[in-house]
Amino acid sequence: MKRWHIVLFLAPAVLIYSVFSALPLLDTLRLGFYATNDAGASHFSGLSNYLTILTDPAWSSAFWNAMCNNFKFFLIHLLIQNPIGLILATFLSLKGLKFARQYRTFIFLPTLLSVVIIGFIWQLILSPLWGVSESMMNFVGLGAYFQPWLGEEGSALITLALISVWQFVGIPMMLIYAALLAVPEDIVEAAYVEGASSWRIFWEIKLPLILPTLGLVTILTYVGNFNAFDLIYSVKGAIAGPNYSTDILGTLFYRTFFGYQSQIGSPTMGAAVATLMFLVILCGVGAYFYFVQRKLTRYEL
């Protein structure tokens, strides 16, 4: 064997990745089929964990509530974060724009901060105690509309999603910006010479060309959102209050795994929840690869 150097080059990465990422993931999928009895011994139990989660009233209401909230959380990102990112990127990519680099740098900055820190900062700002947002709203004459948004069942989830949008808008912005810069100059030039308005150039030339990037941004948002945890946990705790109105799959997973209040944690139930999260993410990624990306590559130059 004279090609042993290949093995040496590959071994560390493949080993660490397998032992601490790929195999635990597979093992978690396996554990979802087991149950632990009171003595702590685990035994194979088939689909019973999944049946409990999906049919037991106490479990299924929590699960579907988290799932539904998670979809809302994702939709808000999809409908607000990505369009704002697109608009900002379109402006940034205009030729001859001054201060483009400064804008880019500052708008991207919040993305780098820990979600925990961002969560607390907004918690303080939106707190009626401090009144920063209340007095600023008074200043523009909207003071009467101020509410403790993070504390109310109806608005807490939306507020948290908007905080997350505020933080992460830099990512779609940058990816779309890069795609816009890659649009071939001569096509745009030719369209312009033909008399197309910049509005039309955007809709009929640039947008179709950056569709693959928009697809990528969507799937990244999807995976990120269905894996979210930190923001809800740091602002609302593991209970995801008020009254579970901000509970998403990540917090449900944490509670199932570690337990809370009167309920004790269960690794096997936790594994089942993780498996369901895995399936949700897999469906999204699969749909992206089979439908979106395959259709979109046709547009690529």
Partner: protein, 279 residues
């Protein structure tokens, strides 16, 4: 070409939008930083004012540093981040080189196997990772975090570095091989220096999620001695939630290192983001 954008009126509109959004992006951070340096009365009376000679107050910082182990947490975060980064870059580059340079059976499958980690969050394997870490007797150690973060960062590193390595001209490697240089020497002395810019980009990308992570420190290393900054801030603020000076100071202390890093690396990061996506 320039005409359609540089009409003064529309340029003004664009600057209004971008400038407005920039203010929105910076406002919360600036608000926290400036209030952290004020007395409690000033924080409440006039939150939107910069600290003046009268309202300037460092008590919050003194309390945070004296009462909590903030410096220890910084040290932990720094150790974990740097160690994971070193392992990700070294092992990632080695694997990327092997996968893109040598043809061997299973090459493609191995590449796909590594890529899966980009799309599937490692967090979903937490139940088994925790068991494994307990079995290895690594619970509440920084080593556990380093290993998990290395596994988490490798797929993206391998993908990005493979692309760069594939662009290196064949002649360079062939010339070295003709001279009888060993494969290891070629990698460490010819290839690694050539891909330095890509390595820097990957470093910035990998560093951020590791430094900011809450999940794994919370689960694998929640002990007082091994807390990272993110977890430390989270718990500190939970305890002192009504002591606004301390809370604001703690938040500032957690924000400042990132601000410093960003001002140093922002160009590298943005170049990486834009060049990576163009391809």
């Amino acid at each position: 070409m320039k005409k359609n954008i540089c009409k003064p009126l529309s340029a003004f509109g664009v600057h209004c939008m971008l400038g407005g959004y920039t203010l929105l992006a910076l406002f919360p951070i600036v608000l926290i930083l400036m209030n952290a340096f004020k007395t409690k009365a000033a924080i409440f009376d006039n939150p939107l004012a910069f600290p003046t000679a009268e309202t300037f107050f460092l008590g919050g910082f003194e309390k945070v540093i004296a009462k909590s182990h903030f410096m220890l947490y910084f040290g932990n975060s720094l150790t974990v981040t740097l160690a994971s980064l070193a392992l990700i870059l070294l092992f990632g580059a080695m694997a990327a080189w092997a996968l893109s340079e040598y043809k061997f059976r299973g090459n493609r499958i191995l590449a796909i196997y590594m890529m899966i980690g980009i799309m599937v969050p490692i967090r979903l394997g937490t139940v088994s990772i925790l068991e494994l870490i307990v079995q290895l007797n690594l619970i509440n150690t920084l080593t556990a975090l380093v290993l998990v973060y290395t596994a988490q960062g490798l797929p993206l590193a391998v993908m990005i570095l493979s692309e760069f390595i594939a662009q290196i001209p064949k002649e360079l490697k062939e010339a070295a091989r003709c001279d009888g240089v060993s494969e290891f020497k070629i990698f460490f002395q010819v290839i690694l220096p050539l891909i330095r810019p890509a390595v820097a980009t990957v470093a910035v990308f990998t560093m951020i999620p590791v430094w900011n992570d809450l999940w794994f420190p919370l689960i694998l290393a929640p002990g007082e001695e091994t807390q990272t900054v993110t977890l430390g801030v989270q718990q500190f603020i939970g305890q002192y939630v009504t002591d606004w000076n301390s809370v604001l100071a703690a938040l500032s202390l957690a924000v400042i290192p990132v601000l410093i890093l960003y001002s140093i690396f922002s160009r590298q990061l943005i170049r990486g983001l834009t060049s990576g996506a163009v391809k």
